[in-house]
Amino acid sequence: MLEITNISKTFHAGSVNEVFALQNVSLTLNDGDFIVIIGTNGSGKSTLLNAVAGSFITDSGKINLSGHDITKWPEHKRASLIGRVFQNPFSGTAPTMTIAENLSLAAKRGKPRGFTWALDKQLQSELRDRIRTLNMGLEDRLGNAIGSLSGGQRQALTLLMASWLKPDLLLLDEHTAALDPKSADQVIRLTKEIIERDRLTTLMVTHSMPQAVHLGNRIIMMHKGQIIHDYKGATRQGVRSEDLLHRFEEVRRREQVDVRVAELLQRMYV
């Protein structure tokens, strides 16, 4: 269970570039929840994921995961509970190391690493079996450097790595945004498969409305560092892409009105 309570983060505080990236955001995920986060550019959705992953320490608020208060934990310590896939396919794998070595690194996520062989016999056979489930023919190329693979293949492997040891929380940060449509489909299918099979608690950020509608059991819409809408339960069931787009349009209009009103007030009173 993930409990985010009133977290805030301001970047470049006090300067002209001040950004209120997260403003008093609270969110609770029950075990097995699969939440999809959507929002405009700069709405804070990726920032929210990074705050949970520990890429930075929040200014205020509290984050609780599986009974641990992880608010002040450094990133690598949180990794013992969290599996993560990045937007950039290059971010999740070590390019000069082999497929097998990369997976062996994931098989030790959050565990002590000592002087035992990274690739023992048992792991090697397990590795082959699990990579075969990707249906990409990679099981015969375990000794190849990951850098020689396509973005889609790398992202599929990263997903496999993030979920190798069943994480308490899986974070997916627009993990198909940088892929061609065919690879994106493949990775999304795999994502769904893995999450359903292992009943993983998941937070996923996406730009794609169809993805948001077809995946997960709850949709959260963010804007300007705040959660502005939460589709869950019965409301989540009936949601279509058009509803989400309509909602975005509404937000945009209201914003324009705000700006115009502000200008008007400025002209009148300043």
Binding site: H76, F86, P95, T96, L105
Partner: protein, 315 residues
């Protein structure tokens, strides 16, 4: 012949330096100039211990530990104090100069009378060849000491390279390699990349200090100046090694670094023999590394113009 043997032996000794530079420069992409201080630090520590009558083996272990400490400090300066890589190395290198003078008590310690690795190697040679007089190799006179030293150094380097390669295949070793390859990824898999880098630089400088200690024992003295230019020397060895094996495979690259070091030393010996002014040696070495760094880029842009685009590694 003794010139050839000497070049071979020094080449092998300095291949430990090449392994250390490979670790910092290639694994971490960290231009670690601490090396220049570590070479001398290792030589100084082992020389002082030898003069005091300690066992040569213990003096080598102490040298490794001393270098490792220096490397760890550079790592801490860079990761915890956020000091730029080069500057962190420069600070430790500069500080080591004074430390080395304090350790040695003077700027040069002769080891001719002390029982050192050379003495052990001489006994080894006598035991292997069953004689204490000079050997006759293909019509050349070879002193038993030189032959023994060559064999001993070959064994030491083979052991060090094998241990390093095996280490790279362990859970800890792969985590260290991944830290150099993609820190973001390995952090997300629960590894403290700061610790990995400190540990890696400690191993790197430990090897480099070991090279310094062996070099001092082979040439019969430790000198406070002996580290100057060593980093570029190690770099040249690594680059030659990569060209020799033409592959990124770890096992080959490590073997290549050893071969590169030996070959480079031989080339230098030949050049000196042909009348190269020893004063120009470091200039030539620097020019060589410069050419090796810039060459591939020029070759690529040239190839691009002619329509080919070979994939080469950038430095």
């Amino acid at each position: 012949m003794s010139l050839f043997l000497g070049a071979l032996t020094i080449g092998l000794i300095l291949s430990l330096l090449a392994l250390g530079v490979y670790m910092s420069f290639r694994v971490f992409k960290f231009p670690d100039i601490t090396a220049e201080g570590s070479v001398t630090f290792g030589a100084a520590v082992s020389a002082v211990l030898l003069v005091k009558g300690f066992d040569p083996g213990i003096s080598l272990l102490a040298a490794f530990a001393a270098g490792a400490a220096a490397g760890a400090i550079t790592g801490i300066l860079h990761t915890k104090c956020k000091i730029n890589e080069l500057l962190a190395g420069i600070l430790v290198m500069t500080a080591l100069y004074s430390v080395n003078l304090h350790v040695m008590g003077k700027s040069n310690i002769p080891l001719v009378d002390a029982k050192s690795t050379s003495t052990v190697a001489e006994k080894l040679g006598a035991w292997i060849f069953g004689q204490t007089t000079d050997l006759n190799w293909f019509g050349w006179e070879v002193s038993i000491r030189d032959a023994g030293m060559l064999i001993a150094m070959f064994a030491v380097v083979a052991a060090a390279a094998s241990i390093l390669l095996m280490f790279f295949q362990t859970n800890l070793g792969t985590a260290i390699r991944a830290t150099g390859d993609n820190p973001q990824m390995i952090r997300a898999l629960g590894v403290d990349v700061d610790i990995m880098m400190i540990l890696g630089l400690a191993i790197s400088n430990g090897l480099i200090a070991l090279a310094g200690a062996l070099l001092a024992q082979y040439q019969g003295f430790a000198d406070v100046q002996m580290g100057i230019g060593m980093m570029v020397w190690g770099l040249a060895s690594v680059i030659i090694g990569e060209a020799l094996v033409g592959s990124n495979k770890q096992g080959l690259v490590v073997t290549g670094a050893v071969m590169g070091s030996v070959l480079f030393r031989l080339l230098v010996a030949i050049a000196l023999r042909w009348g190269l002014n020893p004063n120009d040696l470091k200039l030539i070495t620097a020019l060589f590394v410069f050419a090796a760094l810039v060459g591939p880029t020029i070759a690529r842009s040239f190839m691009k113009k002619s329509g080919n685009q070979p994939s080469g590694r950038t430095v």
